[in-house]
């Protein structure tokens, strides 16, 4: 769905053309004053579409965590929301430092957050772990000094 010229990592496309809704949302790195606004907007959109509460709840959590990651670590990012009759798909691509060891980063408690970020109650190593817990499919790829790409799928029962 999204293309980022500077990033040479594989960007998958939505598996179906049969979508109900799709949109891109820009995320500004380092701007904590707006952190969470994209997730809040997406939650409202999903509610308006009339998805089950559990799907909305899971989507809000994974969107929030992805958004906070971009704000905390990257220069900028784009979140793409695509709703199909069977899935909510969230793709996040950022331009930033990347993650050297994505498997390690997925583990609960692992974090490279600065002291300042930790003092705000972020950076506890729960972000990617929460995304993993509250999604049905979660792929992550990253290139150091380029950026990170997340693809998250939540099934609609």
């Amino acid at each position: 769905m999204v293309a980022w010229n500077k990033l040479k990592i594989t960007v998958h496309t939505t598996e179906t053309e049969n979508y109900l809704y799709t949109n891109n949302f820009d995320i500004e790195g380092g701007n904590f004053s707006n952190a969470g606004t994209i997730a809040t907007r997406i939650k409202s959109i999903l509610k308006e579409i009339g998805l089950p509460n559990e799907v909305v709840r899971k989507s809000a959590i994974v969107c929030y965590e992805s958004e906070i990651n971009v704000v905390s670590y990257a220069r900028k990012g784009i979140m793409t929301l695509t709703v199909t009759p069977k899935t909510v798909e969230i793709e996040v691509i950022d331009e930033g430092p990347g993650i050297p060891d994505v498997e390690l980063a997925r583990e609960q408690g692992y974090s490279t957050a600065s002291q300042q970020i930790r003092e705000m109650g972020f950076g506890a190593g729960m972000g990617l772990y929460n995304i993993n817990c509250y999604s049905d499919k979660f792929d992550i790829s990253s290139e150091v000094n380029k950026g990170t790409f997340l693809k998250i799928i939540i099934n609609i029962p």
């Binding site: 904590f32 952190a35 969470g36 809040t40 809000a60 959590i61 705000m120 109650g121 972020f122 729960m126």
Partner: protein, 113 residues
């Protein structure tokens, strides 16, 4: 039980959205790690925390919390208050530490049921 009742019984000082004190409190969550609160709190919870920065309002808005109570007489930062007024999230201040406040609210909600 609404926020107003809890605020009166526990001498909470209301700092924002005083017109939203009829919000119904269905449960509570205590925590300072935002990812933990995101993952484990529920709609209608009263959130008890020591964090005072503006991102608590984003979490409370997203999770549709009934309100936020700051412990140990901690005051919300100015931009936190501005955001809370804008998002209509009641923020209250308690002189109690988190453990005691959580226990008191737990008992109040328990009596109601």
């Amino acid at each position: 039980m609404d926020i107003e009742t809890i605020a009166k019984k526990l001498n909470l000082e209301v700092r924002s959205a005083s017109d939203r004190l009829k919000n119904n409190v269905t449960g509570g969550y205590t925590g300072d790690l935002l990812s933990d609160v995101m993952a484990n709190s529920h709609e209608g919870d009263i959130w008890i925390t020591r964090q005072v920065h503006q991102n608590i309002v984003a979490v409370a808005t997203l999770k549709e919390h009934a309100g936020i109570i700051l412990v140990n007489s901690c005051e919300p930062a100015r931009d936190t208050l501005e955001k809370a007024i804008q998002e209509k999230i009641p923020i209250m201040v308690s002189s109690l530490p988190a453990f005691e406040l959580t226990g008191a609210i737990y008992n109040l909600l328990g009596k109601k049921d």
